[in-house]
C-alpha cells in the first residue's frame, strides 16, 4: 500500500475535487435570478400561451439564455446536455415541426421562413449550395408533404439566371392547389436588391415561373429599400405579398458624414401589394395617418399598425380601417429598444423592453379593446451593475 502512495494521492485528489464540484453544482443554487410575471390586473390565464425569451448577461463574459413562461423561469444551463444538444441548432418552431413530422423534416435546414404549414400541407423551400463557395450550382430544394396520405414530393431545380446573383434568400413560402410559390430576396452581383416570386408545379416537379415583384435601387440622391411585411407566424398561409417601400432622398451621401450634421432627408413610405394570381402589383392607398406608423403584424386579411398609444387594424379586402384600440396609459412609452408586439387570435400581446423601468406585459382584446391581462416583470433582486437582462422574443402558442 505504502508503495502506491503517489498514485493514491493523485486519484484521491481528482475524485474528491471533481466529484465535489459536480455534486455541488448539481444541488447548489446557481445564483441565477427567478423571473416572474406579476399580475397587476386582469386574468392570469391569458399568460398561459406566452413565452418570453431573452438573455441574462453577467459582466461581458457570461451569457445565459432564459425563458419565462407561466411555469416559471428556465435558464439554458439548467437543461441537460442532451436537451441543449438537440434543441440548440434550430428555431423553436422548426423543432415543433421536427417532432410532428420526423421523417419529412430530416435533412432540412433553412430558417423558419422556408416553411409553410396548413391543416393538410407542409411545404418547404430553401436555396442550397450557396454557403460554401465552389460547391456547384445554387439550386432550389423543394419538398411538399401531403398530410392526408402522408406522401412527400421532393426535388431540386437550379435557380434561374443563377450566375447573376450573389445570394438568394428565401423569405416566404406559399401554396395554392398544386402550385408552390417561393418568395425570395435576390442580391444581384452588380448591386441592388430584387424581390422574386418563383412558381413551382409540384406534380410536374418543375419550375414554371420567375416574377420580379419589386426591386430596390441605390442612386446618388435617392435610395429605395423594400421590406416584406411578414406575419409573426412565419409558417402561416397568405393570399398576397405585401412590401413596405421606403424612398430616401437626400443631397449628400449620408454614410460619409454620419454623426455629423445630417442633410435634410425626405423619407417616403408606401405599401405595395402583389397578387400572385393576377401577377399584378399595385399600391395600397393607406390613410395619411397610417403611412408612417410601424406595422406590428399581419395576417391574411388584416394589417396591424401600432404605436405606443394605439393599435389600428386595416382590412386588406375593403381597404378600410376596421378598428382603433387605445393602449392603456400604464403601458408607457419606452426608449429606442421599443416594445415587442405579437398578434394572435384577435389578441395583442405587448412587452416593453426598457431595462430601467419595470417591464410590462399586456394582453389586449382586439375586438372589444379591453385589457385582458396586465403584468409586471419581477426579479428576485434588481439586476446588478455589471449584469443585464434583455428580452428579444415574445412568442404566443
Amino acid at each position: 500500500m505504502k508503495r502506491y502512495w503517489r498514485l493514491i494521492a493523485v486519484i484521491l485528489l481528482v475524485v474528491l475535487t471533481i466529484g465535489t464540484f459536480y455534486i455541488q453544482s448539481a444541488i447548489a443554487a446557481n445564483g441565477l435570478q427567478d423571473i416572474t410575471v406579476e399580475k397587476v390586473s386582469g386574468n392570469e390565464d391569458e399568460m398561459e400561451p406566452v413565452t418570453i425569451s431573452g438573455s441574462y448577461m453577467l459582466g461581458n463574459a457570461m451569457d445565459e439564455s432564459v425563458q419565462v413562461d407561466v411555469e416559471g423561469t428556465t435558464y439554458g444551463s439548467e437543461q441537460s446536455f442532451f436537451k441543449r444538444f438537440r434543441n440548440g441548432f434550430f428555431h423553436e418552431r422548426i423543432l415543433q415541426l421536427q417532432q410532428a413530422h420526423r421523417n419529412f423534416m430530416r435533412g432540412k435546414g433553412g430558417s423558419i421562413s422556408s416553411y409553410m404549414e396548413t391543416a393538410d400541407t407542409l411545404a418547404y423551400a430553401n436555396v442550397i449550395n450557396q454557403t460554401m463557395p465552389g460547391r456547384g450550382e445554387i439550386k432550389f430544394d423543394i419538398a411538399v408533404l401531403d398530410k392526408k396520405n402522408d406522401e412527400t414530393t421532393s426535388f431540386t431545380v437550379p435557380v434561374p439566371n443563377r450566375a447573376m446573383y450573389a445570394q438568394v434568400q428565401v423569405q416566404d413560402v406559399q401554396m395554392t392547389d398544386d402550385e408552390l410559390h417561393v418568395m425570395t430576396r435576390n442580391y444581384p452581383r452588380d448591386g441592388g436588391e430584387e424581390a422574386h416570386l418563383y412558381r413551382f408545379d409540384i406534380p410536374d416537379q418543375d419550375i414554371t415561373g420567375d416574377d420580379t415583384m419589386i426591386s430596390g435601387d441605390i442612386q446618388e440622391s435617392e435610395r429605395t429599400y423594400f421590406n416584406m411585411v411578414t406575419d409573426s407566424d412565419e409558417t402561416a398561409s397568405h393570399d398576397d405579398v405585401i412590401f413596405k417601400k421606403t424612398t430616401r432622398t437626400s443631397g449628400l451621401d449620408d454614410d460619409q458624414n454620419s454623426g455629423a450634421e445630417q442633410p435634410a432627408q425626405d423619407v417616403t413610405n408606401n405599401y405595395i401589394i402583389y397578387d400572385p394570381e393576377t401577377e399584378e402589383t399595385r399600391s395600397l392607398e393607406l390613410p395619411e395617418s397610417l403611412v408612417d406608423q410601424d406595422i406590428l403584424d399581419r395576417d391574411n386579411t388584416t394589417l396591424y399598425f401600432g404605436s405606443q398609444q394605439q393599435i389600428v387594424q386595416y382590412d386588406l379586402e375593403t381597404e378600410q380601417i376596421t378598428s382603433e384600440i387605445e393602449v392603456p396609459t400604464s403601458y408607457e412609452e419606452t426608449e429606442k429598444l421599443g416594445s415587442i408586439t405579437r398578434i394572435k387570435n384577435d389578441k395583442a400581446y405587448m412587452l416593453t423592453r426598457n431595462q430601467q423601468a419595470p417591464r410590462r406585459l399586456l394582453v389586449l382584446d382586439l375586438t372589444s379593446g379591453n385589457t385582458l391581462f396586465e403584468g409586471k416583470i419581477k426579479l428576485d433582486e434588481p439586476v446588478g451593475q455589471d449584469a443585464s437582462l434583455h428580452f428579444y422574443e415574445l412568442s404566443v402558442e
Binding site: 503517489r6 459582466g59 432540412k108
Partner: protein, 276 residues
Amino acid sequence: MNRFLKLVNFELNRFMNIYLVLIALTVIVQAAGVIVTANAYMDKANQAINEEMLSAAQFIEQYGAMSFLDFARGLWFTGPIAVCAAALLFYIFMIWYRDWLGKNTFIYRLLMLPTARLNVYLAKATSIVLMVLGLVSVQLIILPLENSVLKWMVPADFRTDMTVGQIVKWDYLSILVPQSFTEFILYYGAGFMAVSVLFTAILFERSFKWKGIFLGIGYAAISAIIMLSPLLATAFMDHYYLYPLETFGLEVGLGLILTALTLWMGHYLLTKKITV
C-alpha cells in the same frame, strides 16, 4: 491489475518532481496575480477618485467594476495554465522517448517485464490522463481561494461577484471544466482517445523509424478524418440527413471504435514490430 497499477505508480513517480513544480508554479503565480491585478485596479480607482475627482460610481461607470474575469483574462492566470498544458503535451511524447534515451535503454527492461505489453501502453496513457485531471483539480481547489482573496482586497462597491460555477463557464475554462458531468466524461473521453492516437503514432515511428514517421502522421490524419467525417458530410453533401442527437450517437460510436482500434494497433506494434 496489480502489475498495471504498479506501472501507473511507477510512471507517476518518474514525473512527480516536474509535476509538483508545475503545481507550485500555478499556485504561486496565480496567487501573486490576484494580488497584483486587484492592487492595480484599486490604484487606478484611488488615482481617479483623488486626482480626477471622480466619485466611486462615476469611476465604475467609466472603467467597469472589477470581476474575477479581469484577473482570469490576464497572463497571471492563463500563463501557468498554458505552461502546464504545454508541459503535459510535451510529456505525451517524452513518456515514450525517455525510455529509449540514455545509455542503458530502459524500454528493454520495460518490455521484458512478465506482463502484457499493452499494460505498459495503458499505464502511460492512464498516468497522462490522471496528471491532466490532477492539474484541473488543483485549479478547482485554488479558484475559490483566489476568489476570496479578490473579495478581501477589493471593496464590495467596486466589484461584481461571481461564483466558481459562473467563472468556469468562461471561454476555455468551460472546456477544462465542462458544465455537466456528461460533458466532462465526453471531453476527457475524447482526450483519452487523442492521447492514444498520438501514442500509437509514436509507436509507428519507433517500429519503422523514418518510414514510421509518415505512417504515424498518416494514422493520426486518418483518425482525424474519421472523427470529422460527419462534419465533412455537412459541407460536401446537398443534404445532411441526421438529426443532432443522431450525429452525436454516431460520433460516440466512431470514437469508441477508433479508440479500440488504436489500442489494438498499439498492442500489435508493441508485441510484433517494436525495435529496441
